[in-house]
Amino acid sequence: MKTMKKQLIGGALGLTLALSFAAPSLALRVDDHEEDAYLAIVGGDIFAGTGEVLRGATLLSKNGKIEEIGYDLLLPDDCETIDAHGMRVYPGLVALSATTRLTQGTFAAGVEIHDFVPHEEHAEICGDCGKSFEEVVPPALDPGEFSTEHLAVDAFRTDFDDSFDPFSGYMVMALGNGITTVQQSSAAVKLKRGDISGVSLSEKTLTSQSWSGSNPAGKADLREKFRLATEYLADYRRWEEAVKSDKELKEPSKKGIDGRILDILQGRTMARFSANDRDDLLGIARLAQQFKFRPVIQGCVEGWTVAEELGRAGAYAIVTPRTRRDRPETTTYAAGSSIENAAILTRAGVQVAVVPANTSIDMGGISGRDLLSLPLEAGFAIRGGMDERSALESITVIPARLLGIDHRVGTLELGKDCDALITDGDLLHYQTFVQYTVVEGKLVYDKQEEVFYSHIRPRPEAVVDPGEEVSDEVEPVEAEETVEEVVEEESDEE
């Protein structure tokens, strides 16, 4: 059983750790740099996001990555700990299309980032690596093939790195509601509070394409582009074979081929369509199946009417479950919106990501429909029949996949970033609060310490010092004693 195996591995690793720490603390020092930083989340019910649940387990992070998840882990002496007994641990949430206020802050520099320009200079990213830009940018759909060793964390930069406000109040609000990674314009940015290094994770993994019944010429145009690009790729492959025997053979010309379409076909980016009407959705599904790519469909309100077709096309859908669109009275077939949309799409094999109706933060008093209520929105997908696991994935793994960063975030697995939420209950329950948020192994939010929510059902004080052993035993409260004390006080007053 997978869980058992993990325990054994956990134990083994734990032993190894213990052995390495048996030596005096000097042994911990790595030659030139600072000591390793450890953080352990102890005793919570860990919902890894993979379907696995480990109850009362411990998660150990080293230098921001998940080092180990298991039971009875031996922790390093200087390990910072968070007591998660009686609480749950979830992966940090990934919010698509989030307001740029999150990372630009309240005192933004005044440079509005609408169209952002990615770094053209390969040298700035890789230095003297010998690889071309194309070889370095990961293909979004095959996480298995991609290797991260080449892209150092702080080598990858977008414009958001230089304008990142690490003290943004909006960021703190988002962290307090479970969001740890956000899409800002076309970049994926980590909400690294207090830190400006390595905040951008990816960029331009989604390329906008247009397919609409109101623009038939556009549809024909797009289809033609795909056809030409596909032909070119086929020609190119043939040439690659042929040129081995005939060196003189000229390479097929790239002229007239749309580079973006090539990127889509070669998996360097994903085509994102904004479409809601059933006919448009069918058209996109067929286009995708014909030219063999997996479309991302934003909106997809009537997706439930053509779910099978979308599933066959391997589509992704970015939906808001509560979106309402009334069925026109003149139609006789299924049309309009349905609360069951997300569930039906999922069952047909579409990978569904959920976004709220308002991807900004409402400060005016209307709660439950903005970015801070991302878990509630996923809850509405469950209302429509989606299963709990897919609902959690819709706000973690699937958006991570769309941003090309699911090798780093979205689940709690060994080797991934330690982005975790510690909640006082079921994340998707309306009463639950995030008590602690950890981003890359650092505690960046404590509900009790921040002014925003500390007054709501404050946590009873059970402070654990780092390194102190966490005991499962809780001293029983002597109820009678308390009552007697009260009675005594009253009698004094007389």
């Binding site: 509560r322 008093g365 809850g379 309306y430 009463q431 925003f452 929510y453 709501i456």
Partner: protein
Amino acid sequence: MVALTSLTLLVAGTLVPGVSDDAYADVRPIEIHNAPVATPSLAIRCGRVLTMNAGDTILDPGMLLVENGDITYVGAPIEVPAGFESIELDQAWVTPGFIDLHSHIQAGGWGDTNDMVMPTNAEFSTRPTIVAGNPNVRRACAAGVTTIFGIPGSGTSISGFGVLLKTKTESTYEGAVLADPGGMKVAQTHNPERRSGDMGATRAGLGWLLEEINDRAAEARDLGTFDPALANLTRVHAGELPVLIHCAGNEGVANTVRMWKGRYDTHCAVSHGSFDGWYAADYVASMGVPVNHGPRTFNFNLGMKEGRFVGTSAAYVEAGVPLFSLNTDAPVIPQEELFLQGSVSVHHGADAYTMLKALTIHPARTFGIEDRVGSLEVGKDADLVIWTGDPLDPRTRAEVVVIDGEVQYQRTHDGQWF
């Protein structure tokens, strides 16, 4: 879904009120009942029944019997009597249908909400704008909202009188109305200023507009004089009709209570009470005025600049305001998401059961219709909802909705509307 017969229309026709000198002999609002229609008797048995009665009775499991539109039994499960249709859902919860005292969905959309002729239009009513069984109403019903107070907007200081309606999915005005007029709608601040003409750009002007007309109505009540334009307003001053007042902000809420309760002693309720209105909660509680809260349910930095998320529902309840209830101001928030107002209120610190009361018995008592709706008790209208779980949880859905003893919505039969 029962079609109304011509018999019902005839009956309705004979009940049209006429004008008489003795205009205030009638102490109850105008009511029009549908003629008793043969509806199947229902026996509903579910895992949990939240009666929302005075004793806060919760039955685990529980049973209800429904005959001729009313509840005839609430209690522990018993044997299903002969001739009753049985609905048995072991894991399901049953609650009374939800009541929203601040809704604009009766006309079917955004139109017909505000008629801004004079700064005060006490002679208006939403009756002519009602489109019974419109899509918003149907969806609201499928989400457990069974009674709404369909009111005009807040473009003027007194926008008119609203109608208390049941959200029957296929109906007419006669079939759906609970009380007409149901009550009066006032907008004290935070909207009328934007549109008032010569007088009413500030609170001084708005205050005068209201006092002037109210004083005239009070005088008409005392002297027994009759003015068609003031007829309903005078009934408010006679305590026969409730008045719902849209107001917000610290001083806005206090002002409203001071005028409508302190000065005129009407059967009034604060509606909205948004932003930092909760700062006046103690005063409102001391004056015994109920608060109908929403669509905003937290206060962050509008008003007294808290800089933190203050759960205003919890704040009002803690201060002791009586009969705290919730609204959506639909379509500001979609009517079907009335329950969510309860969910987010709980999230920001309120007690879950109290918020359920805020959706059922509290709004019923605020408007004096608790003899008909608001709780599952013998003799009351059979307005009830069968849920798959906690109704405040967005993951829960409504399975069956019954209004006046008739099944209005059944998910397995009608598909999931929400």
